[in-house]
Every structure is written in structure tokens, then in C-alpha cells.
């Protein structure tokens, strides 16, 4: 995680420098705002990672870690298959398609998204 943190910190710092230099040289608002948002987003993630880093204790960060030390550790429950992805992608596509072709299709897509959200919450709880 330390490498990841350094990555986002340096990327954020680079974006800030570029945004300032660009504004000083070009005085052009669209590009400056885009670079400014970029700097903010990268800095925000870096800030989050500083907090997350405190709790992170990853086997992958330990150069001397042995596989045997991690035997039996539960890393999560993985469902081999789920109908949710294809249905939710279809629902999202219906919303976009409906905005072009027919509002009815868009409404059906929105209803499907809410239904899937409810199903997901029920499954998770």
C-alpha cells in the first residue's frame, strides 16, 4: 500500500504543478479547470489512502512473507456466478436507450435498477 500511496501523492502533486504552470502560461479556463479537478481527485484518493494505510496489513507488502503463514486465511466469499451483473447492465442500457428511443424503455430500466438495488440490499443483509 505504501507504493500505492506514493503513487497517488506524486500524481496529485504533479497535477497541481501542471495546473498552475498551465494557468500561468496559457490563461485558458477550460484546461485549467480540468487539471484542477484532476489534482483534487488524485489528492482526495491519496488522502483516503493515508487513512486506509493505518489499518492495512497486507501479506503482499511483506517481502519475506511465506505462503505457509497465510494458509487458511479467509480472503472472502466469491460467488462463482450471479445473474445480477448482466441484468443490471441491461437495465442501465435500457435507461440510455430509452432516452433516445422511447421514455417507456427508460422508465422500465429505472424500475429494474431500483429492484436490483433492493435485491442486493436484501442479499447483503
Amino acid at each position: 500500500m505504501k507504493v500505492g500511496l506514493r503513487l497517488f501523492l506524486s500524481s496529485g502533486a504533479f497535477a497541481i504543478v501542471i495546473a498552475v504552470v498551465y494557468w500561468l502560461l496559457a490563461r485558458e479556463p477550460a484546461g485549467t479547470i480540468l487539471l484542477g479537478f484532476l489534482a483534487f481527485a488524485l489528492s482526495f484518493i491519496a488522502g483516503y489512502m493515508i487513512v486506509a494505510e493505518r489499518e492495512a496489513d497486507l501479506w503482499g507488502d511483506d517481502a519475506q512473507a511465506k505462503n505457509t503463514e497465510a494458509v487458511g486465511e479467509v480472503v472472502g466469499t466469491y460467488s462463482v456466478r450471479s445473474p445480477l451483473p448482466i441484468v443490471s447492465a441491461a437495465a442501465l442500457t435500457c435507461v440510455g436507450l430509452g432516452l433516445v428511443v422511447s421514455p417507456t424503455i427508460a422508465v422500465m430500466g429505472i424500475i429494474a435498477i431500483f429492484a436490483l438495488g433492493a435485491l442486493f440490499i436484501v442479499q447483503s443483509s
Binding site: M1, G31, L34, L58, A65, T77, Y78, V100
Partner: protein, 543 residues
């Protein structure tokens, strides 16, 4: 030796429903690869139609409006539905295997991204079924050309929606990749031991995360302009047509690196294996990837030099700078081969083809980073040649290299070497016969995206040569398809590690089992499989 235990919810199945509902990263990877290759086939047929139209002047193979739709769908499919998604598919299959993880961090999100990519592509092509046909504004869809006053058909709206869906799917995938690599590495697999392909995918994911939101915002603004009375790009109402270009190229130039960085990773995996040497300059290659990613965020307006409304020196300087880290990679690849025991199996042939073609594309890229040259070459066939040398000669050759290299791991059997060599030479010769003349067409003043051209001078000859080359490339692709069919009937077991490679995916079976590894070798360097083959060697001397 097993690293960790993942709870097996259900046993894997092999029927159609199990593929549709799968959340296994390997299957999703294969779905991505297959779908993107189908889109490549369609986009390739569109390209053949374009080249047939241009085979001779004043040709009437297709109509003017159809021609505009052809080059729009060709560019859109190649960029949004093939070159970049193929890399996502490859990374889907490989990343967890290379870092010793049981799956991606968010398997269901991963599957959702794939289906959004598939559906988004279908929505883009659905425009062709509407009364006024598909979008016809080029893959760049410049406003005001793409505004409702000029492009009145539903096809343009479907293009906007389809590309938007694909871009959101790509952003979700990038978050998945970054999280997986940062958090799910096996014991001992420190960040400085992960394969270079994994590093390149981290850089690519970072680029996607930084660049694609600008595209999504651009598309939303255009959609509002067209359907809800917005005026974001209409100067008559206080909007700005240049705003489209700023937002589009803020995404568009990094997108070029989204389409090439993963393939730098592919080449960095293949060259050491077939040179029988460790990669030269691991750290330099990794840092160069992030230098390219960072610099690429500050070069977008070199596509806008001729507008006269951007800071030419700033963007020119930044564009020139990118050549430095790219050169670092090139020298590292050459140094890897230097003194190595090189063998010329098909993946290596395609990797060498990549080096030659990408070098030519890179050099013309440096040329047009200079505003005086860009003013001459802008919107000409010189630009068409440049971008195809980067994305066709570069990415496409790396894609074939990847297919031949990892095919045994994916399917447990090899593609045939003889047919592979035929594919390579047909594609390599065909590619250069097609696109090398386009430099000269551009210098002769032939604009891009034109339906016909002047019958006098050298343009008819150059266009005829380019068209012949495109047919040669098509034959090369057909030979590859035949190779796939032939290999499907080949039951010869290929073994876990047929190339005697280095990274962790070669430590498991071909194809890998559910959750990837029954057992992992100790990870004490960036070449754990090599270390396992050579226990006499002390890996503690390296990273």
C-alpha cells in the same frame, strides 16, 4: 503452500447459462477478448470497404453518406470496442494470476463492466438500423458537426449513449484493477516484484480514472444539447465549440496511452522469455510508464494547434517530453535482447514487428508535436498513417503477440507455429504496404476522411497500393482464424509452462483451475517461476 482459502460457493459449470452469469475473472477475460475480437472483425470489414472505395478515384462502391458512417463506425469500434477493451480482457484473465490472487477484488462489478461494454457496443452499431443511419461525424464527433442542427438522425444519439456506457464500464474496470493489484497480492509479492504487465495495467487504470470522466462529461453535454435544448457548444448562446475539443482531447490523448501502455507490458513480458534473459531495467520501465501517463495528461491541445486558440509552446514541449520515457522503454527492450539467446517463435515475431512499426509511428508523432509541421500535416493522410502505425502497427501486433503467447494458458493448447509465421508475415507486409504510402498521400495534400481524390498525380497509384495491402492484411487475419480452428482439434497437452516463462501465471495448470492456484511457489523475486525451475540460484540477490 496454499496462500489463502476462498470459500467456494458453487461448483463451476460449463453450460451457456454459467458463462452468462459467470463472475470468474478468467471467463470474463475470455468473454472480453472474444467480444473485442468480434468487434475487430466488424471494424476490419468496414476498413476493407473504405479501402475498396478509395482503390481508384471517383469510385462509387458506396455512397457519400454511407462512407461517412463507415469511417465513423470503423474508428469508434477500433478505439472504444477493440484495442482498449482487448487490453482490459487480457488484464482480466492475467492480473489475478500474475499476482497470486484468487479473483478480482470486485467480481460482480467486473462482470457488470463486461456486459456494459458488450451492450454499449451494440447500441453504437444499432444506429445503422435507424432511418438516417449510424453516426457519421467521425470517432471524434466534433461539435457543432455532431449537434442536432447538422446531425439530425437518431444514430448520433445512439452513438453518444453507447460510447457513454462503454466509458463508464471502463472506469469501473480500472477501479477494479487498481484495487486488485494494491490489495490482493500473494505473500511475498511486493509491488516491486509484480510483473511489468501488471505495472502497466496500474498505470493504464490510473489514466482511465483520470481521463475518461472528461469524455463522459463531454458526451452528457452533447446529449443535453441535442435533446434537452442545451447550448454548451453553441457560440450563438454563449457556448463554445472549442469546449468539445478541450474535453474530448483531455480524454482523447491519454486514451492513446490507454491503448498502448498495456501492450508495452505485453512486449515486456514476451521479449525476456524469448531472449532467455531477465528484463533489463525493470525499475526504469515501470517509472517510464508512469512518466508517460503523467505527461500524457498535459498534451491534449496538440490536437488543437490549428485552432489558434491554444498555447502552442506549452503543448509542444510537453509532447516532445513524452518521447524520453518512451525511448527509455525502447532501449530497455533492446538491452534485454542484447546478448540473449533469441528464438523466433510467433509471439517474438509479433513483438519484433511491434518494435519496428511502433518506432515509425513514434517518430512521426515527434514530428507532428512541432506546430509548424503539424500545421502542414493536420487533417491529412499523414495523420492517418501516424495513428495507424501507433495503434495498428503497435497495439495490433502486440495483441497478436499476446494471443499466441497466452493462448496455451487460456485453453491448454498451442496455436500452430507455421500458421503463426504466415499470419505474421502477411500482416507485417500487408500493414506496411497499406500504411506507409499514406504518409506520402498526406504530403501530397490528400485530406483524411475524403470520399474520393484527384485522378491526376501519384494519389491513384498510392491508394491502389494501400488497398492491395489492406487485402493482404485481411488474408493474414483469415490465416489466424484458420489457426484457431485447427488448434481447437489439437488434443496435445501443452503443459503448465510451455515457453519456460517467468511470471506466476505459468506456475498453475493450463487452463488454470477455479480460484487459480492449488499451490504457489515461494515468491522472492519478479521471476518466481524461473526461481522455482532453478532452485540452485539464490533469488535473494534480486528484488
Amino acid at each position: 503452500m496454499t496462500t489463502a482459502r476462498a470459500t467456494l460457493a458453487r461448483q463451476p459449470r460449463a453450460d451457456l447459462l454459467s458463462w452468462i452469469t459467470t463472475t470468474d475473472h478468467k471467463r470474463i477475460g475470455i468473454l472480453y477478448l472474444t467480444t473485442s475480437l468480434v468487434y475487430f472483425g466488424v471494424a476490419g470489414l468496414l476498413a476493407l470497404a473504405i479501402r475498396t472505395q478509395l482503390a481508384r478515384p471517383a469510385n462509387d462502391f458506396v455512397g457519400v453518406h454511407t462512407y461517412a458512417q463507415l469511417f465513423t463506425l470503423h474508428g469508434t469500434a477500433m478505439i472504444f470496442l477493440f484495442v482498449a477493451p482487448f487490453a482490459l480482457g487480457l488484464a482480466n484473465f492475467l492480473l489475478p494470476l500474475q499476482i497470486g490472487a484468487p479473483d478480482m477484488a470486485f467480481p460482480r462489478l467486473n462482470a457488470t463492466s463486461y456486459w456494459m461494454f458488450l451492450f454499449g457496443g451494440l447500441v453504437i452499431f444499432a444506429g445503422a438500423a435507424t432511418n438516417e443511419g449510424a453516426a457519421a461525424t467521425g470517432w471524434t464527433a466534433y461539435a457543432p458537426l455532431s449537434e442536432i442542427k447538422i446531425s439530425t438522425g437518431l444514430g448520433q444519439d445512439l452513438w453518444i449513449v453507447g460510447v457513454f456506457i462503454v466509458s463508464v464500464a471502463t472506469i469501473l474496470t480500472s477501479i477494479n484493477f487498481i484495487t486488485t493489484v494494491f490489495v490482493y497480492r500473494a505473500p511475498g509479492m511486493t509491488m516491486w516484484r509484480i510483473p511489468i504487465f501488471a505495472w502497466e495495467m496500474v498505470a493504464t487504470s490510473l489514466l482511465i480514472f483520470m481521463a475518461f470522466p472528461a469524455l463522459a462529461a463531454d458526451l452528457l453535454l452533447l446529449f443535453v444539447d441535442r435533446n434537452f435544448g442545451g447550448h454548451a457548444f453553441d457560440p450563438a448562446y454563449g457556448g463554445s465549440a472549442l469546449l468539445w475539443q478541450h474535453l474530448f482531447w483531455f480524454f482523447g490523448h491519454p486514451e492513446v496511452y490507454v491503448m498502448i501502455l498495456p501492450y508495452f507490458g505485453v512486449i515486456s513480458e514476451i521479449i525476456p522469455v524469448f531472449s532467455r534473459k531477465p528484463i533489463f531495467g525493470y525499475t526504469g520501465i515501470v517509472l517510464a510508464a508512469f512518466a508517460i501517463a503523467g505527461l500524457s495528461m498535459g498534451v491534449w491541445a496538440h490536437h488543437m494547434f490549428t485552432t489558434g486558440a491554444v498555447d502552442d509552446p506549452f503543448f509542444s514541449f510537453m509532447s516532445f517530453l513524452i518521447a524520453v520515457p518512451t525511448g527509455v522503454k525502447f532501449f530497455d527492450w533492446i538491452a534485454t535482447m542484447w546478448g540473449g539467446s533469441i528464438s523466433f517463435e510467433t509471439p517474438m515475431l509479433f513483438a519484433l514487428g511491434f518494435l519496428v512499426n511502433f518506432l515509425l509511428g513514434g517518430i512521426t508523432g515527434v514530428m507532428i508535436a512541432s506546430p509548424p509541421i503539424d500545421f502542414q500535416a493536420h487533417q491529412s493522410y499523414f495523420i492517418v498513417a501516424h495513428m495507424h502505425y501507433v495503434l495498428g502497427g503497435g497495439s495490433l501486433f502486440a495483441i497478436f503477440a499476446a494471443l499466441f503467447f497466452w493462448w496455451p494458458k487460456m485453453f491448454g493448447r498451442k496455436l500452430r507455429e507455421g500458421l503463426g509465421a504466415w499470419s505474421f508475415w502477411l500482416l507485417f507486409i500487408g500493414f506496411n504496404v497499406t500504411f506507409l504510402p499514406m504518409h506520402f498521400m498526406g504530403l501530397e495534400g490528400m485530406p483524411r476522411r475524403v470520399y474520393t481524390y484527384d485522378a491526376t498525380g501519384v494519389l491513384p497509384l498510392l491508394n491502389a497500393i494501400a488497398t492491395a495491402g489492406s487485402y493482404l492484411m485481411a488474408i493474414g487475419v483469415l490465416v489466424f482464424l484458420w489457426n484457431v480452428v485447427v488448434s481447437a482439434f489439437d488434443r496435445t497437452p501443452v503443459g503448465d509452462d510451455p515457453w519456460e516463462a517467468n511470471s506466476l501465471e505459468w506456475a498453475t495448470t493450463s487452463p488454470p483451475p477455479e480460484y487459480n492456484f492449488d499451490r504457489l511457489p515461494p515468491i522472492r523475486s519478479d521471476r518466481p517461476v524461473f526461481d522455482a525451475r532453478h532452485p540452485e540460484r539464490d533469488p535473494s540477490a534480486v528484488r
